[in-house]
Subunit: 219 residues, 2 copies
Amino acid sequence: MSEIIEVKAGIEAENEKYAAEVRKLLRETHTRLINLMASPGAGKTSLLEQTIDRLKGAYRIAVLEADVDADVDAKRIEAHGAKALQIHTGGSCHMDAAMTLKALQSLNLNEYDLIFLENVGNLVCPAEFDTGADLKVMILSVPEGDDKPLKYPLMFQVTDCVLVNKIDTDEIFDFDLQKLEKNIAPLNEHAKIIPISAFTGSGVENWLVYLREKLMEWK
Amino acid sequence: MSEIIEVKAGIEAENEKYAAEVRKLLRETHTRLINLMASPGAGKTSLLEQTIDRLKGAYRIAVLEADVDADVDAKRIEAHGAKALQIHTGGSCHMDAAMTLKALQSLNLNEYDLIFLENVGNLVCPAEFDTGADLKVMILSVPEGDDKPLKYPLMFQVTDCVLVNKIDTDEIFDFDLQKLEKNIAPLNEHAKIIPISAFTGSGVENWLVYLREKLMEWK
């Protein structure tokens, strides 16, 4: 048991080293990286499609598509006119900083202003690994339920922003946004909570206002 | 890197040893164990509520509730009159066989016929660990999308049964059951696929027919 724990501590220290390298590379190339996390099917790719469509005139965007083993999302992103780089994690349930660094190094970062990392669909493991990103954004989708902060607290603790997707279905699923906010508050009082529907487009403009503000702050 | 891989191989061998012990314990006590896996919010607890309500006259049921850190599901299960044992995985994203064995040993298994393990909400990690269960059942919920086998293939490969939950919302989410079946077929030609709604109860009887057949086969 102690061996496993030591290895885990070693992995965390190693990860921090690579996260620092990611941050250095981003600063040098004036590029911003956003780590997008969610359960499978919460709407990460749909959100990116909406975001790219509305921002691509102002920012040069690339997407790192992290999947255990697939390339369906990369094809969807490229159809919207952004560069997509498919990353196969080889069975791993999350992206770590070393994988992120390697992916960023394979792009010419002078060609991009903004990179989205679409992490593996998972509410547990991606929360544990700093990728060196400037911003952590998570999506919780309405069908998953307003009680999820109680069950996956770390994800809600580490995120900067919670996008509450599929909000157009809140009545069907008896989803209570206020209950969700109440469940998030003790974990993270600073998290920005934005209800959206990546399907109808409702609320997406509020997300873009938040994102543009962040991009301005960072300049 | 080689150190990590060796540790992983060691963990797998260790897990198999405990899985064999779980199987031995189950045989000795004439108890059956079902490993229930799904994304967060796919409806694991709701399915168990429906299942317990309909089977509790015929079988003595207990539920192992595995969560990173919570006890909301255990309370829901106990309200339906089944024994619930809360397991905190301590940050771990899945149940392994050692954790399962420890949980089973803390119950008097002569008092139960059927144990459900409600695994951590996650489509990646639980697929990698044999818990020693007699049957692996996964839930895919309609809002997650019919393309999920392409993105989380291992889970669809290892499962015996795919319950397609929230089927009453298939039109809202433009979900195609035939497309799902087509995506599962190359991964697992034997998986039993059963559409259900744990909310309305539709299709739940088909799941119980399947489960009762398995329980008879095992006698």
